[in-house]
């Protein structure tokens, strides 16, 4: 087959432009790769979670009650919208694990029926034997953190009865993808464990034979969940129902959703911007590339080629130049997405991973890139094709620089001609200069916005652990206790300060909105645990009324001054109406805070406390833990140090990975843009520069004209890019509508500085490359060729 001359030209052009094609490929790969990687990762996690829940039959609705006879299950199964229901026995316990100084909080569940809901995945060992009341399995994360392996023994204090248990295996459960002790935000796997044991043994220990204290419900397809919940509450009211709730309020799912959502915000806002910036830059690059072919286009027309054929030719050129980047982006994006999803799969403890990027992310990102590239080429070709062939055959008129502003501004600003050449080059085509600045500053902005998420997490940690939760330990009692308990804690050697708190679980309602959220009462003038807003200012709980977080206010759709109703779900279960005295934007921690004395009054009790915050002398940490283990009624102790470590290991680390990739891609875009801008400037100015060389200008002097333009564009782009970047970072931060914690805007001047450095390094590297091209300008050709 003989190739047509235009096809041969096409192939040769691609080969000639290979360096630029490589730079273009980088930009495309960054844009396309980002989109596919990010969407692939998020979708994979969502798909994995969905199939995990599905395969292991995770319940849709949970209905905790005090006690119901097994026969009540039949009534539940007959409710409209219920596909399946079963009862189970569950309880909290205090564990005594060898090797752990402090008491460990435990959650006990009866083993699921073989075909029932909330199935578990055996990871090591075996399931408890049918007639082995002491056999238990625990969640894998706890076993790892507490260094427990099958065969080990430990004891549990269940409702005052000490029970010896034997570990037979470790498991995963869709219910505990994220195992967090009640009232905590981040997991402390060493001090919180989930245990599954034979139903008979557990029911026996709790005196719940032939009964259950939690109903699990699987909804029928298309069922109205809220209606099922309403009917369940009515049905189970006489069994001491505290309120059924959907899976979305289940603590682990809430955390997983929160984390995926958070991750999605990080990875889904920026990639489309990446793609848009990449597409925009390619549009400019292709348009300028085709413009340099103006003369060829004129000649082709003179030879009789039709506009359409010429358009097709350059369209093919643009497409060919993009192909490598598209393939690279798609492959790289899918590969990195799968890798990242794998990392998160382990982090979220899903037993398997289902990778799914979705055809639409490929189609959209590749389509958007091609459209941008082809539009850029088409625009330039159409402009060039407007020339009559005769015009192209004549030496073209010199570009017009006589615009008054262009001419005089440069004269006023700089004294020497080479500098005026630079300025006029930029002024004459203000739109193009503007676009170049916009492109460069967008790339810098992406870098800053990506890299600053680490700063934001650092700021969150600083606010949460440096300003808000300053205690070393949090002690939780099994049952609320009177004020004497506080003195007992204060007397322990090594305890420097003790502050009481009263916490109660409740359903908060406002209008038709309902949220299950604990009420936390703390003392005014607290020094350890305090409500802190995003600016780090301490907000004292008012003497009456409740301070709630912006997150909670959003979910309840209320403003400061509005009333809310709290239906307490423990003890006397009072229903309390509370005025919302303030709404604060707080990084994390309790969403509804009151004055402890006020909460005590509302609960019609004395100076009762649920637990206390402790400041502990660092030399006595171990001793205090041991003493707490001996203290009756202490249900759990959490260490802030361990939680902080948990935050660093989880949030900070997961953000770190995403940030690394974003930053890398942003750097690629910077490199691609700077290189292409400079290469095209070189081809546009080649004749001027060669003429200057012929006229006796030294290499350095000639390079000044070329690189001066680049330097100026880069210099202008830097402040613009920093402002863009910070605004973008602020926007991304504001988009975090995560339900459990918020990320503040943390500014660290090092991040923009690194971004600027990346731009400068990319520019300097490009400058060196281009400089070597200046050295090889063909002087003889400059004499002979017209523009």
């Amino acid at each position: 087959m003989r190739l047509s001359p235009l096809t041969i030209k096409l192939l040769r052009d691609v080969w000639r432009l290979r360096a630029q094609a490589a730079a273009i490929a980088l930009v495309i790969a960054a844009g396309v790769g980002m989109v596919i990687m990010s969407f692939g990762m998020i979708r994979s996690l969502e798909a994995t979670r969905a199939s995990y829940y599905d395969i292991y039959r995770f319940a849709d609705v949970f209905a905790p009650i005090r006690r119901a006879p097994t026969s009540a299950i039949r009534a539940i199964r007959q409710l409209p919208g219920v596909a399946y229901a079963e009862g189970r026995v569950t309880a909290s316990a205090i564990l005594d694990v060898p090797g752990i100084a402090e008491p460990v909080s435990g959650r006990l569940h009866s083993l699921p029926n073989p075909k029932g809901l909330n199935q578990i995945v055996l990871r090591s060992g075996r399931l408890p034997g049918l007639d082995a009341p002491r056999d238990v399995v625990v969640n894998e994360a706890f076993a790892t953190a507490a260094r427990l392996s099958p065969g080990d023994r430990f004891s549990a204090l269940i409702y005052g009865k000490r029970v010896q248990l034997k570990l037979t295996g470790t498991v995963l459960s869709p219910e505990y993808v994220y195992a967090v002790a009640p009232g905590q935000i981040f997991p402390d796997n060493r001090r919180y464990g989930v245990i599954w044991m034979n139903e008979d043994a557990l029911a026996g220990a709790l005196d719940l034979r032939d009964s259950f204290n939690e109903a699990l419900v699987r909804l029928a397809p298309g069922a109205n969940r809220d209606e099922v919940i309403r009917r369940l509450d009515i049905l189970l009211d006489r069994y001491g129902a505290v309120g059924a709730y959907g899976r979305d309020l289940q603590i682990s799912d809430r955390f997983v959703s929160n984390e995926i959502e958070q991750l999605a915000t990080t990875v889904e806002i920026l990639p489309p911007i990446f793609l848009a910036v990449a597409a925009f830059l390619l549009n400019i690059v292709l348009a300028r590339l085709v413009e340099t072919e103006r003369e060829v286009i004129g000649l082709l027309k003179a030879f009789g080629y039709r506009d359409r054929a010429i358009l097709l030719h350059y369209g093919q050129l643009a497409a060919l130049l993009s192909v490598a980047g598209l393939i690279l982006g798609a492959v790289l994006g899918a590969w990195l997405g799968r890798g990242l999803a794998g990392i998160y799969q382990r982090y979220f403890v899903f037993p398997f991973l289902e990778f799914r990027a979705g055809a639409d992310s490929y189609l959209i990102s590749i389509g958007a890139t091609l459209i941008a590239v082809l539009a850029g080429a088409a625009l330039a070709v159409t402009r060039a094709a407007r020339l009559t062939p005769a015009e192209a055959m004549r030496p073209p008129a010199p570009a017009d620089f006589s615009g008054r502003w262009t001419a005089s501004a440069a004269r006023a600003l700089v004294p020497d001609e080479p500098s005026r050449m630079i300025l006029r080059g930029l002024f004459r085509r203000p739109l193009r200069s503007l676009l170049a600045v916009l492109g460069l500053s967008s790339a810098l902005a992406l870098y800053i916005a990506s890299a600053s998420s680490t700063d934001n997490v650092d700021r969150m940690i600083e606010l949460a652990f440096g300003k808000a939760e300053r205690e070393d330990m949090v002690v939780t009692f099994a049952e609320p206790r009177d004020a004497r308990a506080l003195y007992e804690l204060a007397r322990l050697p090594g305890v420097l300060r003790v502050e009481p708190y009263r916490a109660t679980s409740a359903r908060l309602t406002a209008g038709h909105h309902e949220v299950r959220e604990g009420l936390v009462g703390s003392s005014p003038q607290s020094d350890l645990s305090r409500a802190v807003n995003m600016e780090g200012r301490v907000i004292e709980p008012p003497p009456s009324g409740v301070v709630i977080s912006t997150r909670l206010a959003r979910r309840l759709d209320i403003r400061a001054g509005d009333p809310i109703r709290a239906i307490v779900t423990e003890g006397e279960r009072p229903v309390i109406d509370l005025p919302v005295s303030a709404i604060i934007d707080t990084p994390l921690g309790s969403s509804a805070r009151l004055d402890k004395a006020y909460l005590n009054r509302l609960l019609r009790e004395g100076a009762t406390l649920s637990g206390a915050y402790l400041a502990v002398d660092s030399n006595y940490g171990e001793a205090v833990s041991r003493a707490l283990k001996e203290t009756p009624q202490v249900a759990g102790v959490t260490s802030q140090q361990a939680i902080l470590q948990g935050v660093r290991d989880t949030v900070a680390e997961q953000m770190g990975i995403v940030t690394l990739f974003n930053t890398l891609f942003a750097a690629l875009i910077v490199l691609g843009v700077v290189y292409n801008s400079a290469r095209i400037s070189l081809s546009e100015r080649a004749r001027d520069l060669a003429s200057m060389r012929v006229l006796g200008f030294r290499r350095g002097e000639v390079s000044y004209v070329l690189l001066g333009e680049l330097a100026l564009l880069v210099l202008v782009s830097i402040p613009v890019g920093i402002s863009f970047g910070l605004a973008l970072s602020r926007y991304v931060t504001a988009q975090f509508s995560a339900d459990l914690y918020s990320i503040p805007m943390g500014f660290n001047s090092q991040t923009p500085a690194e971004g600027v450095l990346a731009v400068l390094v990319a520019s300097a590297a490009t400058a060196l490359l281009i400089r070597s091209k200046v050295d090889h300008l063909d002087l003889v050709r400059a004499l002979k060729t017209r523009e």
């Binding site: 030496p395 008129a397 010199p398 570009a399 017009d400 620089f401 006589s402 001419a407 020497d416 001609e417 080479p418 005026r420 050449m421 006029r424 080059g425 004459r428 004749r687 001027d688 003429s691 200057m692 060389r693 012929v694 006229l695 006796g696 200008f697 030294r698 290499r699 002097e701 002087l779 003889v780 400059a782 004499l783 002979k784 060729t785 017209r786 523009e787």
Partner: protein, 241 residues
């Protein structure tokens, strides 16, 4: 006109200059041994068909290209010994160029195009003076896009002379111009040669131009195939083609 010229210094002494592009059977012998002596202040016209070697010759003399063998002395300096930087300094200090397509910087006015060069010269003219010499005193603030082809070429000449070069190379200076405009450009070159004594080399296809020269060199197949001196130089304004 002046025939009994005073003894002048020899500006170029060229010996066995050859230039070969490529190697082996594909080698192109652009110059096959050129010998020429040129006195300072002469007006030289190089004639010859395309591919005869005249442009290659001029490129080597102008410091834009290197000879394959032979010598090209500019006063006491052997150009063939100079490295790239040396050639740049030679062009910067001693040589003026006028191109067929003017090669003005479009973003600079006429005045600025000239002062682009005067800024890097040791003893330049005032750019306005150089522009006045080519008859463009009134157009100094105009950009190339506002000038006709002939005017642009005269700016290019002003740019070349403003640094008071010892020698000027003009490669087809009228090639892109109509005859009337071309004559005015040649007139400008003639005045420069007479008034400031710059040695001028003009490459052209146009045999008529040869009448304004002191010496005419004919190139053919990489060699000088003929040389003649005009007894009188015809004023350019009398040339017609």
């Amino acid at each position: 006109m002046s025939t009994g010229r005073p003894a002048r210094r020899r500006i170029y002494h060229i010996e066995d200059l050859t230039k070969t592009y490529g190697t082996g059977p594909a080698a192109v012998h652009a110059l096959r041994g050129v010998n020429l002596d040129v006195d300072e202040g002469e007006m030289f016209v190089l004639l010859g068909p395309s591919g005869s070697g005249k442009s290659t010759f001029l490129n080597i003399l102008g410091g834009l290209d290197r000879a394959t063998s032979g010598h090209a002395h500019f006063f006491d300096t052997n150009l063939t010994d100079l490295d790239d930087d040396g050639l740049t300094e030679y062009r910067r200090e001693s040589v003026g160029f006028v191109f067929q397509f003017y090669n003005l910087i479009a973003s600079l006015t006429a005045h600025e195009n000239v002062s682009l060069i005067t800024q890097i010269s040791k003893d330049p003219m005032d750019p306005a003076e150089a522009l006045a010499m080519v008859g463009l005193k009134e157009r100094i603030k105009h950009f190339p896009s506002q000038l006709s082809g002939g005017e642009q070429q005269r700016v290019a000449i002003a740019r070349a002379i403003a640094k008071r070069p010892r020698v000027m190379f003009c490669d087809e200076p009228t090639g892109a111009l109509d005859s009337e405009t071309g004559v005015r450009v040649l007139d400008a070159l003639d005045r420069i040669n007479r008034e400031i004594g710059t040695t001028v080399f003009i490459i052209t296809h146009n045999a008529v131009v040869a009448e304004m020269a002191d010496d005419v060199v004919l190139f053919g197949d990489g060699r000088i195939v003929g040389r003649r001196s005009n007894a009188t130089r015809k004023p350019p304004l009398e040339l017609r083609w």
